[in-house]
Symmetry: C5
Subunit: 129 residues, 5 copies
């Protein structure tokens, strides 16, 4: 049914997570025959978030396969309580964490699932990859 | 006429709702042969909204079919009276609510209606799903 | 020449209007063989706009053909003098107005004109619709 | 080679200009066989920009071929030093200017060049248009 | 395998860099058979960034092949600690630098890699370009 999803286009699910100091969140869906992607939309503080600068970091992979870190957003309850990411697409595996600030800070977006072009014609590769 | 809509691409309607403390809003169009989606654009306070942090939450479904909550926006009349969501796509059923703040807070966007790829060739399934 | 426009994709024109208290603006292009759409980009205060919260409302139609109102933006010269709408697509007929504030407030965006899929093969329907 | 560009999709170049009071900037690429478009991304103040409201105006053409003005952004060094336009597409000829404020204010974006669908099959029109 | 990538669409990797006064960052992937592009998403201050206006500049090429500079973002820890660029597409070679401010300031986005339409049918041109 990889083919079937391909015909339907990507399927769209809701994604949300909460970051606190020392509490990383990993996005790494289990290995199936589909391609997973996050389209990140918003980063927001909560009503209980302390009024200090919060720096949200994502750890993923660059084009050479090396781990890289990038800053997703820097926000602050009193001056910038939410910021739009505009559909920042993140491929798994990725880790989200607070580089500064104690949180909580919320990330939201869309979890997109598509047929994996490499695997859709291969029915038996789910046992060892 | 599912086929007809498919040829025309998604049809676009205006969507708007108002949230107040204790007044959730549900997006769950009645079951027809079409696929419905919200493309959320803006979250805005009103001129009567009290100057406190308002946290807007959406409840939907993750990729495993479980209910999940995500924060759409955190805003505040004095520092951030509106925030762009940039086309955050939400599939029904979904519930919008204020997690904090008394409101009113307004959500606006586009209600997109497309031919449902699963059903467009099946003329008789509208009686029991 | 509906076919010709279809091949060229949508044509793009500049759209801008100014709202003041009591001065609504209607977007309702005259009925031709084309499909019209606004892709709204920015809402901005002017240098003469009084420092109070301005709430911009749009009136259009929901998926059941009923008139609905939605809030496009809430802004304020001192804290948020402009806000991006990110391509909020509005189908005519639509009315823009200030729900609060005396203005002026400016809306800008793109007026897109496409061949109307329903009418492009029908040369004689411009007399009664 | 209009055909060649068509196959490659739009080509993408960097665009940037600086506005000061009384110093308009015109976007009007010389007439060649290509279609030119600006996809505007950001409007930003400079570190030397005086702390007053700056209103950035664009002059272009509406769907009836008439000159129209629209407000692109209103910004202010102390409260909103930059604003995202999210890909506001402007067709030439267009003029950018400061309607208020002394500047400098910077506009940046992408200059997109595509094969012109009207002319790509006509090899001999580059000598007099 | 240029053809293979073409069938898969662009591949998406995480991009992040840090700017400080006097520390430029160059984006210029080594010459391979692929087309590289940055889709810039966010510019953010850090928790250690001094409270002054930071102006982020990019240097690239205009449509005539000349070097041009454009301002990507102007931000400030206390009033605007992060700003969304909304997918500002930059073609290499490009240089990012702080025109004002001492930093650090972070840029993040997506590094997209596609089959190069010019080269995908030519296996032997990697020796002299």
């Amino acid at each position: 049914n990889g083919m079937e999803m391909d015909q339907l286009g990507p399927q769209n699910f809701l994604y949300g997570c909460e970051l606190k100091a020392g509490k990383d969140v990993t996005f790494n869906p289990e290995d199936d025959d589909f391609e997973h992607q996050l389209s990140l939309r918003m980063v927001c503080v909560d009503s209980s978030t302390k009024d200090e600068l919060h720096v949200v970091e994502v750890e993923g992979h660059n084009s050479e396969g090396q781990e890289v870190k990038a800053i997703l957003a820097t926000l602050n309850p009193s001056s910038l309580p939410s910021v739009c990411l505009g559909g920042f697409e993140i491929s798994p595996p990725a880790v989200f964490r607070l580089k500064s600030g104690s949180g909580p800070v919320h990330i939201s977006g869309q979890h997109l699932i598509m047929a994996d072009a490499d695997q859709s014609f291969d029915e038996d590769d789910d046992d060892e990859e």
